[in-house]
């Protein structure tokens, strides 16, 4: 059982404070709480619960998500915009090595569908229970397990060779029922 970090002593104030308080125990560390901006790290097992709580709020919208490769895995940052009052709250969740997996928010919110597929393609993060984990950004011929947005990927040296020309795989044969 991992020991959760204690919440830092940043006081929860204003609208952003209310949002973070509404998430309750899911928040393990508050990193920034300003009138219009908030950053908090949440419990990796409760991403879906947090997303459900936020989307139920008036004016909440999942703006996008960012994946960043860090020492312990891939940090996934869900950016939530609230209009009104025009605040952006970023929820960080760590997809830890070695399996780099977290629960998919796309399972409850279609707005996360493309961006989670993109993070899967470019960084190799895995999303459990994602409804449609086909490739979005990478070409079908791109090799498995090569993730171009990783820090150790070199744009010139690690670029896979172009595949030979071929007919698209989704064209159906003539006369098939």
């Amino acid at each position: 059982m991992t020991v959760l970090q204690s919440k830092t002593d940043i006081p929860l104030m204003g609208f952003v404070g209310e949002v973070l308080e509404a998430l309750g125990e899911a928040v393990v560390e508050v990193q920034q709480c300003e009138p219009r901006r908030g950053i908090a790290r949440i419990d990796p097992t409760r991403t879906v619960e947090a997303a459900r709580a936020l989307i139920a709020m008036d004016g909440a919208r999942l703006a996008t998500a960012t994946g960043i490769e860090v020492r312990d895995g891939i940090d996934i940052l869900y950016h939530w915009a609230f209009e009104p009052p025009g605040a952006v709250v970023t929820l960080k969740v760590l997809a830890a090595r070695p399996d780099l997996a977290v629960d998919s928010v796309a399972a409850v919110l279609p707005a996360a569908n493309w961006i989670e597929r993109e993070m899967h393609d470019l960084l190799g993060a895995n999303f459990r229970n994602h409804p449609d984990m086909r490739r979005l950004v990478l070409d079908d011929s791109w090799p498995e397990g090569v993730h171009p947005l990783r820090k150790d990927f070199d744009q010139v040296l690690d670029r896979p060779p172009l595949p030979p020309n071929q007919s698209p795989p989704d064209v159906v044969e003539e006369g098939r029922p």
Partner: protein, 397 residues
């Protein structure tokens, strides 16, 4: 169970502006599902930015899109300014607002022209693009380029505008009011357009929330979100303007929002020009020595909706991570909600109604027959069918 066909639109076609691949699953003429593929021209800008210095990145991100080339650098710069806690001089804020609103004006006029073309109103296409031209010209005279303005920098703007330039901008955008009025009336008073666009491609406010749609796509469904008002940046909280919304969520609503927003853009540009003429002189940039470690987000209301940038710095001279999310990336998935149940001739204008920007998303899709074999539609065929439907309706009115 009726016969189901896949109609491929794209990915490469001479009449498509760029590579994008839509697959429409159709039963007869009715669309039952939509699938989209992206990234045929993925340029790896996020990866590239990690190798550029903070000052070089704006020149890269303004090339994300040739039409949002003021919004993307501004969103990035606001994220960096949030990290470095920079106070931007007031004059720079007004100058940023002028360029961003001129960009909205030319983008909306471009869309009105294209939408007219898709519906078979080629006169609207010619007129809208003719009125767009002076806007491009004043952008060139004020910033040095018609497309990539290179106007913003971290801490302010790179170029000041002279009194003559400001007067010229004020006069030219003021002259746009009459043609805009004419275009708006042509749309609002045309019985064929009412019949053709109302209740077509409806996007409900619930779907807007679920898909996270932004900009005119959301405002056309009566959802009043606008970063310019909600999280004010540049000088938007210092000038008088309104957020335009339209009820209905159909193509007509989105057209009305774009047309009425153009009037607001004219108002904003004129107020900024007059303020700067009344208050000449002053700094146009704050000196920024170093970007400390930290993370920041910046978002800007581009012509198509909110563009969202996230930057993380580790204290070196390059960003550790720079995330770009353009508005079409969240607007295009709404086709899954708005295109289903439509007939094929209505798809072209519904796709066009969110003003999809290929470079925003990098990939789309087309339709093939899953039952009898291959049958490919090009975007030209969709446009042709759309224009035919308008002609049919015009005859019957």
């Amino acid at each position: 169970m009726s016969h189901r066909t896949v109609v491929n639109i794209g990915p490469f076609h001479p009449l498509q502006e760029e590579a994008e691949f839509f697959q429409l699953y159709v039963e007869g003429e009715t669309v039952v599902d939509v699938d989209v593929r992206l990234s045929y021209n993925h340029r790896g800008i996020e990866k590239l930015d990690e190798s550029k210095t903070f000052d070089q990145v704006p020149f890269v991100v303004e090339r994300v899109c040739g039409i949002c080339s003021a919004s993307h650098p501004l969103a990035y710069i606001q994220a960096v300014e949030e990290i470095a806690r920079v106070e931007v001089p007031e004059r720079a804020l007004y100058l940023r607002t002028i360029v961003n609103e001129l960009e909205r004006l030319h983008s909306h006029l471009l869309w009105v022209g294209l939408a007219g073309h898709f519906l078979g109103y080629n006169t609207v296409f010619m007129w809208a693009w003719k009125y767009r031209e002076p806007v491009m010209e004043i952008l060139e005279s004020a910033t040095g380029s018609r497309v990539n303005y290179a106007n913003c920098k971290i801490g302010g703007v790179r170029r000041d505008m002279t009194v003559e330039q400001l007067k010229e901008i004020d006069r030219i955008v003021g002259d746009l009011n009459a043609p805009l009025d004419m275009l708006t009336k042509a749309v609002l008073d045309d019985p064929v357009l009412h019949a053709r666009l109302k209740k077509v491609g409806v996007l409900t406010p619930e779907a807007v929330k679920l898909y996270g749609a932004v900009g005119p796509t959301a405002r056309g469904s009566g959802v009043p979100i606008d970063v310019r008002r909600d999280d004010p940046y540049a000088a938007y909280d210092r000038v008088d303007w309104q957020v335009v919304t339209a009820p209905g969520g159909d193509v007509f609503g989105k057209a009305v929002v774009r047309l009425l927003e153009s009037f607001e853009a004219v108002k904003i540009v004129q107020q900024c020009c007059r303020y700067l003429l009344k208050n000449p002189g002053g700094e146009i940039d704050a000196k920024v020595e170093q970007i400390p470690p930290g993370e920041g987000v910046g978002h800007v209301e581009a012509p198509r909706g909110e563009t969202f940038h996230y930057v993380r710095s580790d204290g070196s001279n390059r960003p550790v991570r720079h995330k770009v999310r353009a508005p079409s990336y969240v607007n295009i998935p709404t086709f899954k909600a708005s295109c289903i149940g439509l007939e094929i001739p209505d798809v072209a204008i519904t796709l066009a109604s969110v003003d999809p920007c290929y470079s925003c998303t990098e990939r789309l899709c087309a339709v093939a027959d899953a039952g009898t074999g291959r049958r490919l539609f090009g975007f030209d065929e969709l446009v042709k069918r759309s224009q035919e439907k308008t002609r049919r309706m015009r005859r019957s009115v």
